[in-house]
Symmetry: C2
Subunit: 332 residues, 2 copies
């Protein structure tokens, strides 16, 4: 009886081994075209996970950081969180008849977004994304993400996630990397979808954050979002956020714009193994083509120069990605 159990155990072990071997033999990055970037990524992972390699990195130091807008999902023609804020204005308008004549709300209601300044957006954000509990905010964001659609692709925003980046995240996790989002976008907004869509847990989501106020409602404590900045997690705020939340430097970092420059520099300064990558949007047919001239996701010439000088990998969406969106596989 006992001996039989052992045989079952042994069979199980073989099965496990065979599954693993066949798994490892599979391409971990099927949506990436063969080429130097894919090769570099796989070589890096192989080396830092190989105990016999001089490039070996212990699992606790395998920190991977990913920017969100433009790196993980579409950021054109406007950041998704901005569109959410604009839609909130329309939704809240019936309770605010004064907005018909009050700027910037009047322009938003007239769908005349072109003249909105940074200050206008700040006002819109304060009005639409503060003064409620963190939980209520996340519910609103989740409800909106379930129905709102991007006009060009006619897809939900969470369907506009780049499949090659999801594969890169999974590949790193399978190799015992801790995967973080490090975004200039709002932490609570990203937390409303990233655990489900990216499999990144709440505590690994670093983003722009505002303070909360501890209050009671029906004797239960709640945190109310208030318009006072904790951290702006963009540009030099990215290393600052990484230090605050993680306390150590990444060994691999993915970005796509000038906002990620300091995160990549920070990664490269870790004194050990590192790989820095930038997604370049050069595929107008399948997604968008933009760079130095774009206000959203600026990829300046000086960033390109720094990338070339410092050996940062520039991912061409056009050439390096076989598939961009998972819905392409459904034949849409």
């Amino acid at each position: 009886m006992f001996k039989k159990d052992l045989k079952v155990y042994a069979a199980f072990l073989i099965l496990l081994f065979v599954s693993f071997s066949s798994y490892a033999a599979q391409d971990p990055l099927p949506s990436w075209n063969e080429g130097p970037i894919k090769q570099k990524l796989i070589q890096f992972v192989n080396e830092v996970t190989d105990k016999n390699s001089s490039h070996y990195v212990v699992p606790e130091d395998r920190v991977a950081t990913f920017d969100n807008d433009g790196t993980m999902w579409v950021e054109q023609p406007l950041y998704t969180q901005y569109i959410f804020a604009l839609d909130r204005v329309a939704k809240m308008a019936p309770q605010h008849p004064e907005w018909k004549t009050e700027q910037p709300f009047a322009s938003v209601l007239a769908k005349d977004y072109s003249k909105l300044s940074e200050q206008d957006f700040e006002k819109i954000f304060i009005t639409t994304q503060t003064g409620m509990s963190v939980e209520d905010y996340k519910s609103l964001a989740q409800q909106w993400l379930q129905v709102a659609e991007n006009t060009r692709f006619q897809k939900h925003y969470t369907q506009l996630v780049y499949l090659p980046m999801l594969e890169a995240m999974n590949y790193l996790r399978q190799n015992n990397f801790r995967v973080y989002i490090v975004s200039g976008g709002g932490q609570d907004f990203i937390r409303s979808f990233a655990p489900q869509i990216y499999q990144v847990p709440l505590e690994n989501i670093i983003g722009a954050a505002i303070h909360t106020q501890y209050t009671y409602k029906n004797d239960q404590p709640q945190l109310i979002k208030i318009p006072k900045v904790v951290i702006i997690d963009d540009k030099s705020g990215k290393p600052e956020g990484i230090n605050l939340f993680i306390g150590k430097k990444p060994i691999i970092a993915f970005g796509n714009s000038d906002g990620d420059r300091q995160m990549l520099e920070w990664t490269q300064s870790n004194g050990g193994e590192h790989l820095m990558l930038l997604v370049h949007h050069d595929d107008a047919a399948r997604e968008y083509a933009y760079g130095a001239q774009s206000k959203i996701g600026t990829f300046s010439d000086s960033l390109m120069t720094e990338a070339n000088t410092k050996g940062w990998q520039v991912i061409s969406m056009k050439n390096d990605w076989k598939t961009i969106f998972s819905f392409e596989h459904a034949g849409n």
Copy 2:
């Protein structure tokens, strides 16, 4: 040959199982006296980890938060980080001859600490703990902790950690809890010793934090600590810090003072399983006895009332802890 390998595997499996069974049979909290608190803690862990229990909690929701000063280590007669700051003033004094007459430094140098106000300490903190890189700060703290001694116990401060709390942390980790420090003390100060002393990784250390400035030194980026608050992680700042760093409510929380009240309320409001505990310093012989009247680690009468009303467990150091410090075992 292959069959032999299988037998080896099987033998290994049995060994593993036997070791585990014998391990589980051991007391996970040997420094705790038998009694209702120890029983409650073990019962809680048994229930939330038992898949067949209606109290089962999935591992990703097993969040445990621990206050630091007075909960993990001695906080009397003054918080350790304060003593570090005062010692820094003495160390820096030769470069600041003007301090001989300038307050609050003159008082510090005369070891006349009794009149130092909150504002004085703020000035001392800004002078001694900002204007340097995060790495340099941590090195200074580590060097100091290696040599500085508590005058009463004549031990290094990291030797004044409560053994029963280390056991509680280990016990929770062994049961797949994620253990966090949530402290009103400085995040960088705690990060300088907690990974080694508590086995809590850097990213699980939540504390009071100040901003950093991204600059370059010899072409390498560095973060310089600047006197601008990110978050004050005390009182209502604790739920705020927990939300910012973890994004979900704890299921078990340990504190020892009025500064932990909101963290315990926040834990209790999680809508599921929860256990809230407060260390009460009532052992003048082995440690200290203090409570409502103490400026450091105030345990007010209203906190005691809230604890009794809401079923928070009050740990008596005198009665619930068999051993307080690990050096007691060495016969010191």
